[in-house]
Amino acid sequence: MAEFSWDVRSPLDRALAVGRYGGHGDAGVALTEIRNFDLIQVMARRGKAAEMAKAAEGRFGVAAPETPKVVQTADATLIWSGPDQFLVRSKGDKHGMAALAPLLAGSASLSDQSHARVLVSVSGAKARTMLAKLSSIDLHPGVFAVGAAAATSMDHTSVTLWRGNDRADGQAVFNVLVFATFAESLWHTMQDSAAEYGVAIGHSEEF
């Protein structure tokens, strides 16, 4: 019997080269892939919005977003992804399929998307300038505040975009959740868009 292993490989494994890219000097943009997370799509059943909301609040201790927002708890991120639906991002099967299914059975349909998406976090002094090349969304701090989310497109590719908590240095952090098979393509486009400002590239398993 052959010996084999099930290596988990990020769709960006080949394209992402840790280090510096593009213009010299201080990197204006940091692109960081966040790896290894669980992602569950929760879709309320017909007429069951209130029931689902109650079950979700019981589980997460906060109300799930009903408008384009993101809600952060200690061990989960709840991201609005459309009417009657949101994504639950967590780690280590905390809020994975097995944990959520019994709780939401009857009020919502669940779909495991853990392998279907790639998450890239974009920050740095030039993050907004660079994202303006890709996103038609107005990311002005007064318009797209911490906790704002959007189901939108970048470079003709559907993404879920949200603004997480600011970095320790006060700079805004934008998270881009993209379909896995599009990820390498969008990654190259992001890298090219950021090149003139200098890019610091990395990946992380931090939640």
Binding site: M43, A44, R45, R46, G47, K48, A49, A50, M52, P68, S81, G82, P83, D84, S136, A150, A151, T152, S153, H156, S158
Partner: protein, 91 residues
């Protein structure tokens, strides 16, 4: 052109796909061939305000009913399709 998605807010045209006239209603199963023929093929060619089906496929995937003036492209109203946001039905 920009469309105010009732779920997402104002978005650029590129996120949406146009389908066409939202007025024709799919006939019931027992309707005859003539009714279905009209539903499939007969469309008003409106120079002015009409109701249209648009899909926010580059966003929240909701189907929308958009009231648009075909002469000026002015959009008077945008409503979700009956089954978009159906989880709140009866709430």
């Amino acid at each position: 052109m920009r469309i105010v998605c009732p779920f997402c807010g104002e978005r650029e045209l590129g996120e949406f796909t146009y389908l066409g006239d939202a007025k024709p209603v799919r006939p019931t199963a027992d309707a005859g061939e003539d009714a279905v023929h009209d539903y499939v093929y007969l469309r008003d060619n409106v120079a002015g305000v009409m109701s249209e089906n648009w899909y926010h496929g580059g966003g929240c995937r909701a189907w929308l009913k958009v009231t648009r003036n075909t002469l000026t492209h002015e959009i008077a109203a945008v409503e979700p399709a009956a089954g978009a946001g159906a989880a709140k039905v009866g709430a």
